[in-house]
């Protein structure tokens, strides 16, 4: 699955490492673009922020625990402080009172930072779309989102798929932050 998925992989290299390895007597020399190496390193070590407002938080905790472990993909250390985190997984409904808090957390994160909107509530208000006076209809009214995961709540495998897609996006250089910094 991973071979055909990633487009910037050379056919000879067996590992995921970007670039070409030229064999010379006495060792190998790696030729690659600096951007590719930085993207590879960043994508393999994203530390999430523990931000869970409601039910999707429980599925995020399930993804963190032993059956659907997400620390195999590099999300090992879930940090509580936004200054030490790379990716914020918005798991749960955002309401009008919580919106300034979310914006403040996002501003406190250091660049490069990525956002995953998990669950129907964070994508568009979800089940609380009609006739509520206090729900923000989608977290992307507040902060820019990179990956959307559908479900109410999404299965842990769906969240893992989203995390892997985020890693693809970073390697290909297509996240919002990479495009705007070009």
């Amino acid at each position: 699955m991973s071979e055909s998925y990633l487009s910037n992989q050379s056919a000879e290299s067996k590992s995921n490492f970007p670039g070409q390895i030229t064999e010379t007597p006495g060792g190998g020399i790696v030729l690659s673009k600096l951007d590719d190496i930085i993207n590879w390193a960043r994508s393999n070590s994203l530390w999430p922020l523990t931000f869970a407002t409601s039910c999707c938080g429980i599925e995020m905790m399930s993804t963190a625990s032993a059956k659907y472990d997400f620390s195999r993909f590099g999300f090992e250390v879930a940090r509580a402080s936004p200054r030490q985190a790379d990716v914020i997984i918005i798991a749960g409904t955002i309401v009008n009172k919580m919106a300034p808090v979310l914006k403040r957390l996002y501003d406190q994160m250091a660049d490069p930072k990525y956002v995953i909107a998990m669950g129907a509530c964070a994508i568009s208000g979800g089940p609380f779309f009609y006739n509520t006076y206090s729900v923000v209809k989608g977290a992307d009214h507040i902060i820019p989102v990179d990956v959307y995961v559908a479900g109410c709540p999404p299965r842990p495998e769906a969240l893992l798929h989203a995390l892997i897609s985020l890693q693809q996006k970073i390697r290909e250089g297509k996240t919002r932050e990479q495009i705007s910094s070009k």
Binding site: C55, A66, K67, V95, P127, Y130
Partner: protein, 371 residues
């Protein structure tokens, strides 16, 4: 309007805990007045997950509003649905078939065990022990697999509907539940070895957060919070519903009043839930899983109140109906709302580190409080 964060005139410090904090289970904002490390006052600020459910339900029909109650106290989602279905059935005077009643109780008790497992793991993690979290989720995943096979979803399942159940149980249900009981019994001793008998844990929990019996009743506390202070208030025993009067189980009451008593109540309740499941799993009667109801439900004019015992306490649904297809006013009496009001009383005079132990034993789920 409330105290500004900073220092007051007599040298006390006012700090924020939350709303984004790893130890508050959800988004709870506490404004704490501290003198050194001793707590003077705790003031909860709610509303960070207020989704205006009561207003929303006034425009949903009686079959539609059940899904949103799953998401209020998401760890006891079957039990919340059960309360709403019972209220609508009371209004329409529908008789639920025996098979549906027994399966409803089985699903309720499995949900109670799953909720207590998550509480146990998360509380141990708050106190600093990371390993019990993974052990608790191992059992919880077994229950989620059972739920997924029968009900289709892992966390929020609208399976209990007015009239009975939405579909019949999967043929593997009984076998899987029996396997789960065997797994649980073999692993239960680990819990005692890891956490309950641990000397650090005991020192952090004994004598912390004392709530007297009169205060527990006056604050309206229900569930394990009140049972840890000696108040007998289990809805399944006092006002039995849907077949609980025929089942033998104990109501666990401890008189200590501190955090350790509330902890022991919940741990022993898990064993009682296993006892209930064992009595029922081989005796599911044959028959229909849903009573015949009309397609559009209209409750007659009047008021109806029904209550159940969730993992946190007494959950009540109060429907005021004017005869239409949507309710005129719905009020959800959530257990966390009253349990939280006791936190200020319990926390005065303790240290900041004890606050985490107290909030852990209160077992708060914030969307339940904010609705």
């Amino acid at each position: 309007m409330f105290e500004e964060i900073g220092t007051t005139t007599d040298g006390d410090l006012i700090i924020n805990v939350g709303p984004q904090h790893p130890a508050t289970h959800g988004v709870l904002h506490l404004v704490i007045t501290l003198n050194g490390e001793t707590i003077r006052k705790v003031e909860p600020h709610l509303g960070y997950i207020h989704r205006s459910i009561e207003k929303m339900c006034e425009s949903l029909t009686y079959r539609q509003f059940i899904y949103v109650t799953s998401r209020m106290d998401y760890l006891s989602s079957h039990i919340n649905n059960h309360a709403c279905a019972m209220c609508v059935e009371k209004g329409l005077q529908i008789e639920v078939p025996e098979r549906a009643k027994v399966i409803r109780i089985l699903l309720d008790e499995l949900t109670r065990i799953a909720s207590h497992e998550l509480w146990w793991g998360a509380m141990a993690m708050d106190l600093g022990a990371f390993t019990p979290f993974f052990h608790a989720f191992r059992e919880r995943e077994s229950i989620n697999d059972i739920m997924e096979e029968t009900c289709g979803a892992r966390l929020t399942m609208n399976f209990i509907v007015p009239g009975g159940l939405m579909a019949d149980i999967h043929p593997n249900f009984q076998k899987r539940v029996k396997d789960f009981i065997r797994l649980y019994k073999s692993k239960f001793e680990e819990y005692n070895e890891m956490v309950t008998g641990n000397v650090i844990f005991r020192n952090r929990m004994e004598g912390v957060g004392y709530l007297s019996k009169e205060d527990a009743i006056s604050f309206g506390c229900t569930g394990p919070t009140a049972r840890g202070s000696g108040v007998s208030c289990d809805v399944r025993k006092w006002f039995p519903y849907e077949g609980y009067e025929k089942i033998t189980f104990d109501e666990i009451i401890e008189t200590g009043g501190d955090s350790l008593a509330r902890y022991m109540v919940r741990v022993r309740e898990m064993n009682q839930s296993i006892r209930i499941i064992e009595q029922l799993i081989d005796a599911i009667p044959e028959g229909e899983y849903q009573a015949k109801t009309k397609a559009v439900l209209k409750l007659p004019k009047g008021e109806f109140y029904s209550r159940v015992e969730t993992a946190r306490g007494e959950f009540g649904v109060y429907i005021v109906s004017e005869g239409g297809t949507t309710p005129y006013r719905i009020k959800f009496r959530s257990p966390g709302f009253s349990n939280l009001s006791a936190l200020d009383q319990m926390a005065r005079g303790s240290k900041l580190g004890d606050l985490v132990a107290m909030m852990g034993t209160l077992d708060l789920v914030i969307p339940d409080i904010d609705r």
